[in-house]
Amino acid sequence: MNETIQRYALAILAHIALVLAWYLFVKLGNVPKFVMPSPAATLDALLAPNYNWWGNIAVTGTEIFAGYFLALVVGIALAMVFTWSKALEAFFMPLLVSLNMIPKVALGPLIIVWFKYGVFPNTLMAFSICVFPILLTTARGLREIEPELLDLVRSLKGSRWQLFAKIQLPGALPYIFSGMKVAAILAVAGAIVGEFLGSDKGLGYLMLQVQVTLDTPAMFMAVIMITLIGMVLYGIVLALERWLVVKDARIDA
């Protein structure tokens, strides 16, 4: 227990140290505000009335969470379909591996052509970038079943569904979470790139607006806000993993 407290204390200390180093660098180096604002100047950017921070945070947050959730549902559902049908897997899996090679960012202009710009196409960007890691790790996890365990279930004339529900799916959970952790980071990047390419609201949009006026403190603040949204998502995934996956079975990602 003591060790846990110590680890948390160190983690907090490291973050404080970073902010302190940032402050000292700006202060001692006499760095102009438009190059790098101080932590205080960055916080001040929140007070600027015309930036609509909360609205933009809500928009970007929606895109990230909606895209991620959609990817989770579609990725896991497709992986399940593949474990039920060997033929479907043999047909689609190589295709998906190829599709995974497409730089999803390159789809941005196309998505804008198809769906105009706004929350929905940016959600699609986030979705397209994080569906593959979830799908691929889930499919792998569902496939990883010891042949003898299969024998055990078959010797009891267990059904396909029992095998899936009692052994395959819980066995795949650590893999699913390792994919989800990777995807959580990618979802944030996807949504922001989408906003860069075309949007009229959101934190990525705001960054492009304040870049024009060289309001660097606001850009810093936007980056911090995006990071915080990502941390909330990642934190939720980690908490779920702790709750659902036995310590011994967790896979780091």
Binding site: E146, E148, L149, D151, L152, V153, R154, S155, L156, K157, G158, Q162, K166, I167, P170, G171, L173, V245, V246, K247, D248, A249
Partner: protein, 254 residues
Amino acid sequence: MSEPFIHLAGVTKVYRSGKSEHLAISDATFDVMPGELVSLVGPSGCGKSTLLKILAGLHPHDGGTLRIGSSTHPFDPARDVGMVFQAPLLLKWRRILENVLLPAEILGLPAAQSRARAKELLALVGLAGAEEKYPYELSGGMQQRAAIARSLVHDPKLVLMDEPFGALDALTREKMNLELLRIWKEAGKTIVFVTHGISEAVFLGTRVVVLTAGPARMADNFPIDLPYPRTLDMKTSVPFGEYSRRIYKLLGME
């Protein structure tokens, strides 16, 4: 003389891959009486695991006669087989009690009764108090004890064991041999025990079936006339040595 529980006569198994055929078992002929503990001994690749899978109903056999069950001991292939493998194969995400309950869940047996039985079995295998632990909190030997409890939870008539102690260190293995004999006496099951350990085969078995590899065939089948309970000092007795030598000879190692 009562009816045998398992009757094999000239059972063969051929694996076909493309045009080539591989004879996995040729002419397996032996009987197992109810409540016997039969050791199947032989080198790797002699088809002993295949034979076990045929007994478990996982593979069909290609020739000969195989009958399990008798008028006095009826056998239901869906619920009367318990299996133990070389690896414990416990589900990491389940506590030990829930692991033991797996076969009962698959068969849809009444939950409350099964739980009570699982607890009794855990006590029988020496794991009382470990019900709420996760597999990773137990040693390899203890995990294998849990796997044995799991193989008994649905009260099967036949327990098939495929080198269950093969992955354990020598001392733990000896200890588990004694434990298995105790569990067998108390549970009163018919056990088919596959091993490549000659001394283990003799020490445990009421009967030993010897299989040789390349080409796979049944070499011999004889009862072990040593009294139970068996003790470790029997391993140095003259008859024990003679049985072991007989098997060594059959396997062409003497």
